[in-house]
């Protein structure tokens, strides 16, 4: 039984849940993800791991409602159970397996965009706990969509957290790329490694900036997948002219090598079908996809 112990709304359409999942909690590391199924008839949905507690055998997930399946997950309450929680999936962040004294020589810049702030959190926490210098940039649309600011401050210290909003409604005004540029060019901060997680378009531009600044950058890809163990190939993407599977080769890749445009194109794959199903779920079975408008 994968019981939900806590369920809360973090922001508009953004939910956080603490779930009993011993097999995941015992083994997961920053960088990895999991797959859930809400009910017996539900889709397998890949979600990022936002936190874990090995002692309590729980994991924390943060997700947004975008399609029918995520709405169904959001309807679950504390005390309910997921039909399935499986993981950890994907490879841990590369520093987890490296000699820690090597990792400590580096200054890390973590960039979380929107929901991507959630998977950045365990990375920030891990690095800080292992004595590694780390700055975190959180980018979000507007003040109301900001998540996990306090957790991040608690993890790495207020002076290391930089929040920016697209509309300037809270703290800095502008994109994460402007913050990166400011920190490096105006404030004299030096970074040896950047980890960027967020919407594909944000990662694309983030990488463009870090490339200019000469900061090697890791990005985390979350394409559509079915099994998450290498079997289906739905999550394939082109990295440095090679076809890779995000689930077994990733989800983290060298951002300088990822074909973002190709990956964004593939993201559209189930949009119409999924959108159709969402409308059907919310408004009844009135949209059959034949009208050409939905």
């Amino acid at each position: 039984m994968f019981r939900i112990l806590e369920a809360e709304v973090l922001a508009d359409k953004t939910y956080k849940m603490v779930v009993e999942a011993p097999n995941v909690a015992h083994a997961c590391e920053p960088g990895q993800f999991l797959i859930v199924r809400a009910h017996e008839e539900s889709e397998r949905i890949a979600l990022t791991i936002c936190d874990y507690d090995r002692g309590k055998e729980t994991v924390t997930i943060v997700f947004q409602t975008i399609g029918e399946s995520s709405y169904k997950i959001a309807e679950l309450k504390a005390g309910d159970c997921f039909a399935d929680v499986v993981g950890p999936l994907g490879n841990p962040a590369e520093y987890v397996k490296e000699p820690i004294e090597e990792v400590r020589k580096r200054h890390y810049l973590l960039v979380g965009g929107g929901l991507g702030t959630a998977p950045v959190y365990p990375q920030a926490k891990w690095l800080k706990e292992h004595g590694v210098d780390v700055d975190v940039i959180i980018g979000t649309k507007t003040k109301d969509t900001l998540i996990m600011e306090q957790e991040m401050i608690d993890a790495v210290g207020e002076e290391h957290v930089f929040v920016t909003t697209d509309d300037g409604s809270y703290k800095r005004h502008g994109m994460v790329t402007a913050v990166i540029e400011d920190l490096v060019k105006n404030q004299g901060r030096k970074y040896d490694k950047c980890v960027s997680i967020g919407p594909m378009i944000m990662m694309k531009f983030c990488v463009k900036m870090t490339k200019e600044l000469g900061i090697p950058t890791i990005v985390s890809m979350n394409p559509i997948m079915v099994d998450g163990t290498g079997m289906c190939g739905a999550c394939r993407l082109v990295v440095g002219d090679e076809v890779k599977f995000a689930c077994v080769d990733g989800p983290e890749f060298d951002g300088f090598l990822v074909d973002f445009d190709g990956a964004m194109k593939r993201m559209k794959l189930y949009k119409t079908e999924e959108g159709r199903r969402l409308l059907e779920y919310q408004e009844g079975n009135t949209h059959k996809g034949n009208c050409g408008k939905c």
Partner: protein, 464 residues
């Protein structure tokens, strides 16, 4: 009511009408009635040196069980089959009998071979319908064995070991046990609830525990199983692995699937049913690339979802690796075959979605390493097929999850786990492997055969 019988020919088996079944997911072949099975059983010559048994990867006593059916002792027939096979209702449906037991049947020299597969299916279905299940052994060895993967190989190995008295736990990565029997082979060929789930229940009734949602290589490693959890031997039966693509232009376009993805959505996730949430692209015009059983399954699934379907295969009809029955059924249902044809490019529209596939005609040249004549492109023969969905059914390459997390586990140059064919022994003491993860993609029955041999190998190892 006796059935008239031409001893040269198989008693025909009832099937759903092709026009009807092309629109539903119900089983195509309806199986023999008791009377038909009895009649077909009279065609068996009861050979002294039965070649059919040699042709069976799990060595079922075929004349033995057929004799029982002839005499009306169906329970006895099931008992004989069950000594050798843990999944008889599955094998009767999906084994390539024409190249195995039936391929060497003496009856087949002058006429048609005895319909061994259909008789096996009859006995297994009869037992299930009459509530007969294998019984748990009372003798316990007090030794724990872990099996990785609840597909045909893992289930067979686990079943055999449980019969010998071992405590067996199967670790399955997906949310459902069955492996390719649930994610790959479609409902219309192998019903999931009535047949597969019941066969798995039978394995469980032998005392086997199955843990789903449990990924060895991620949640836990093989070393942890052996060092921390007291498993004295491990059988790796993790299956085929990562789908292959052709590496031609346009393969990342929207509407290009691996057969694995397409079939997993349809079968495991039941995307063809309105009451399940997983989406599937119901194309209008689908091209399936490949000629194996998986290609046939994908093609026939797409057809049932409402698409016109063309199979593109680079060799000729004779080389099609699929079971003869599947090709025959596919054709009956209206699937087109463009043989001696190979894709060169997938064509995209301005949105990046598939709008067609450019193919080239081939001719057969000199035999290659596999002994089959190598297909060679005919220069200038390219043409386009209009389509909105392309399904690549080209086979798989091994999954790195276990080999990359288990030290000193030897793999070959194709990245398959090196395992002794007779015992399943690997380079690691106590660790055995078999099925697709060791051989590369093959058949259900070969994987089961490997599972049986490994069970013997493990028993010998643990009895030392």
């Amino acid at each position: 009511m006796a059935i008239e019988v031409d001893m040269m020919k198989k008693v025909p088996v009832a099937e759903q009408d092709p026009k009807v079944r092309a629109k539903n997911f119900d089983e195509v072949c309806l199986g023999y009635t008791e009377e038909e099975a009895k009649t077909e059983a009279t065609r068996c010559l009861q050979c002294k040196n039965p070649r059919c048994v040699e042709g069976c990867p799990v060595r079922i006593n075929i004349p033995g069980f057929i004799e029982k059916i002839k005499n009306g002792d169906n329970a006895g027939a099931y008992e004989i089959i069950n000594e050798a096979s843990s999944l008889p209702a599955v094998c009767g449906r999906v084994c390539p009998q024409e190249t195995q037991c039936e391929g060497v049947c003496i009856r087949g020299i002058k006429g048609e071979a005895v319909s061994i597969g259909k008789l096996e299916r009859f006995a297994a279905d009869w037992a299930r319908e009459h509530g007969i299940a294998p019984v748990k052994t009372s003798e316990k060895k007090g030794k724990k064995v872990a099996v990785i993967g609840a597909g045909p190989s893992g289930l067979t190995c686990a079943g055999d070991l449980a019969k010998m008295g071992y405590d067996v736990t199967i670790f399955e990565a997906l949310h459902k046990a069955g492996g390719v029997l649930v994610y790959g082979i479609p409902e219309f060929r192998l019903p999931k609830d009535e047949v597969v789930a019941k066969e798995i229940e039978n394995v469980k009734s032998l005392g086997v525990e199955i843990k789903t949602d449990y990924i060895i290589g991620r949640s836990e490693t093989i070393d942890e199983l052996m060092d921390n959890e007291g498993f004295e031997a491990v059988y790796i039966a993790s299956g085929a692995g990562l789908p292959m693509f052709m590496h031609i232009p346009g393969e990342q376009a929207l509407g290009v699937y691996s057969a694995n993805e397409y079939l997993t959505r349809a079968n495991l996730m039941k995307a063809y049913r309105e009451d399940y949430d997983t989406p599937i692209n119901k194309g209008n015009r689908t091209v399936v690339v490949g000629g194996g059983n998986v290609a046939m399954d994908a093609a026939r699934t797409a057809l049932r979802l409402g698409s016109d379907v063309t199979v593109v295969y680079r060799r000729s009809e004779k080389e099609l690796p699929a079971r003869a029955e599947e090709v025959h059924h596919a054709k009956e249902e209206g699937i087109e075959f463009n043989l001696l044809t190979n894709p060169v490019e997938i064509l995209e529209d301005e949105e990046g979605a598939v709008r067609g596939i450019k193919v080239i005609k081939m001719e057969l040249g000199e035999p290659d390493a596999s002994g089959r004549r190598r297909p060679v492109e005919i220069a200038g023969s390219e043409y386009e097929i209009e389509c909105d969905t392309v399904i690549m059914a080209l086979g798989t390459s091994p999954n790195p999850l276990i080999s990359s997390t288990t030290e000193n586990l030897e793999t070959n140059k194709r990245k398959c786990i090196v395992a002794d064919e007779e015992t399943g022994t690997t380079s690691r003491p106590g660790v055995f492997a078999g099925g697709d993860c060791a051989t590369g993609a093959a058949t259900v029955i070969l994987a089961m055969g490997a599972g049986r041999k490994a069970a013997k190998g493990i028993d010998e190892y643990l009895s030392k």
